[in-house]
């Protein structure tokens, strides 16, 4: 079992804004809509220009079991919550809008606290994912599953990776004011992070060469399909890239699994101050 955490400093301005609004009073309740979106990198693909070794990557499926959404307008306010979990395929085109995870009646206020969870959940209900994919994800006990293809010239590598990790995102950077209106908070999933070539550098690159080279690394016959077992057999000790700092990781599957804890953002590029990862 692995657990880790990441923290960021919390912006003070949002809290001050929330306090100011509460102090003024007179605002009207509204609606808070929570969406989940995989952006173009998941819906369209990651172009070769973004990958240092020239591979391009497309996702046929990018399944997430997501829920546990919470929002709060300042520390003293009641917490809104949508505790259930739903399964979405973020590779399906949404026209840039993402998919609605939950809709909540929201008292007036400036919502500066937001969180959500990626986790395996046997009671999760379908979002936009196909029934067979929902059943398979739940049966495997996965929170995230990515199925896709990497291409460079005439070379192609397929992958189908499932992760049983639970990733709790809290204190995400938001500031949305409800005053008789509907506001949307987006849980944004950055699928390209799975290709990061470093677990600790401030600005890692996207890379696929070493993943491709893992085909057959476990002694199996290379078949153009890289499995978790092959990635786990890809030792990193002598690699220039794929540094892991103090993390207890020494193989490529460990790095990719670690990056699952970095997928979750908010409203595009916003970060969550507190991320807790557990599971395998």
């Amino acid at each position: 079992m692995r657990a880790s955490s990441h923290r960021r400093s919390r912006p003070l301005t949002a809290a001050l804004a929330a306090s100011a609004l509460v102090a003024c009073g007179g605002a009207e309740p509204g609606t808070l809509e929570v969406t989940v979106y995989g952006e173009d990198f998941i819906e369209v693909g990651i172009p070769a220009s973004e990958v240092v070794d020239g591979w391009s990557v497309t996702f046929d499926r990018f399944l997430v079991s997501i829920g546990g959404a919470t929002a709060q307008a300042g520390h003293g306010a009641d917490e809104l919550s949508a505790p259930g979990y739903r399964i979405f395929d973020l590779a399906r085109p949404s026209g840039g809008a993402g998919y609605v995870l939950a809709t909540l009646d929201a008292p007036a206020g400036t919502y500066d606290h937001f969180g959500y969870v990626l986790r395996p959940d046997a009671s999760a209900t379908p979002g936009n994912a196909r029934a067979a994919d929902v059943d398979a994800l739940k049966a495997a006990g996965h929170s995230v599953r990515v199925v896709g293809t990497a291409t460079r010239g005439a070379d192609t590598i397929e992958f189908d990776w499932g992760f049983a990790l639970t990733v709790v995102h809290r204190h995400c950077e938001v500031s949305h004011t409800v005053d008789g209106n509907t506001v949307t908070i987006e849980a944004t999933i950055h699928g390209d992070h799975l290709l990061y070539d470093d677990a600790v550098a401030a600005e890692p690159d996207l890379a696929f060469d070493l993943i491709a080279a893992a085909d057959g690394a476990d002694g199996s016959t290379p078949d153009g399909r890289v499995t978790p077992a092959e990635l786990a057999a890809q030792d990193l000790t002598g690699q220039e890239r794929y540094q892991v700092g103090s993390l207890d990781i020494d193989d490529l599957w460990g790095v990719i699994s670690h990056q699952v804890g970095t997928l979750g953002h908010v409203d595009g590029e916003g970060h969550c101050e507190d991320i807790q990862v557990s599971g395998t």
């Binding site: 692995r2 955490s5 923290r7 470093d198 600790v200 990193l236 002598g238 220039e240 700092g245």
Partner: protein, 246 residues
């Protein structure tokens, strides 16, 4: 490095804002490199390695107290590994730490909110002109410079290693266990530990010195771009090998 009143004020304000206190007492403690010889390391490949000098360029030392307690896997943490701790002390700025077997050297002054500390973090960087190095110092442009002798089967293998780390690489969770009070005055010593006392690993694990190319003078030079460099820089950047102590 001079103490930063701004840092003290910011830390005090941060704690007060969290509702723990209307006033957050702080103290300023000197920080120095630990003196004395570095421990001899017996590696996984059977080398007995004496480190004669280890220099590293770092920045922005942070001291952490236990933050919110989260459900984490039992056994994940051991002393100093509270990666989720709250930063309650700091010594911002660049420092060059030189462990050469002699006396420790002053590195600066840290500002700490009183509390029970459980870890330290810092950022690795490349040494530069601001570190006061001679223009021909081999460490310039690199993060680590390590020299020593590895012995095995009666043969000595002197070595000289320059290591690079990617910009922004941060060490999180060095051991630092100390209760800091308003009466605290002790100097905090930053020490390198070639041998991890908890797990027994060494910073030289995986290096087969006898198999590495040497200079005509018989020196093993480990430089960026080599597999030995890549092997060496993995363990030496882990929190297992650094401790901050009074």
């Amino acid at each position: 490095m001079r103490p930063s009143a701004t840092t003290a004020a910011a830390l005090a304000a941060a704690l007060a804002a969290c509702g723990q206190s209307t006033e957050a007492p702080t103290v300023m403690l000197p920080v120095a490199s630990a003196g004395g010889p570095l421990a001899v390391a017996t590696t996984d490949l059977g080398y007995e390695v004496t480190t004669t000098r280890l220099r590293v360029a770092i920045a922005d030392l942070e001291l952490t107290i236990a933050g919110e307690q989260h459900a984490v896997a039992a056994g994940f943490y051991h002393p100093g590994h509270h990666a989720g701790g709250d930063v309650a002390g700091a010594m911002p700025g660049n420092v060059l730490v030189d462990w050469d077997g002699g006396d420790g050297r002053a590195l600066g002054v840290a500002t700490l909110i009183v509390g029970a500390y459980q870890g330290a973090n810092f950022r690795f960087r490349a040494a530069d002109g601001g570190d006061g190095l001679a223009t021909d110092d081999p460490l310039l442009g690199h993060t680590f410079h390590v020299t020593g002798v590895a012995r095995k089967d009666g043969a000595d293998h002197p070595f000289d290693a320059l290591l690079d780390l990617a910009a922004g690489t941060t060490l999180v969770g060095a051991v630092f266990e100390l209760v800091v009070t308003e009466a605290s005055t002790e100097t905090l010593h930053l020490a390198a530990r070639p041998v991890d006392p908890t797990a027994g690993g060494t910073i030289y694990d995986g290096l087969d010195f006898a198999a590495l190319a040497t200079t005509p003078a018989g020196l093993v030079e480990i430089r960026p771009g080599s597999t030995a460099h890549n092997v060496f820089r993995r363990p030496i950047q882990t929190h297992d090998h650094y401790v901050l102590h009074p």
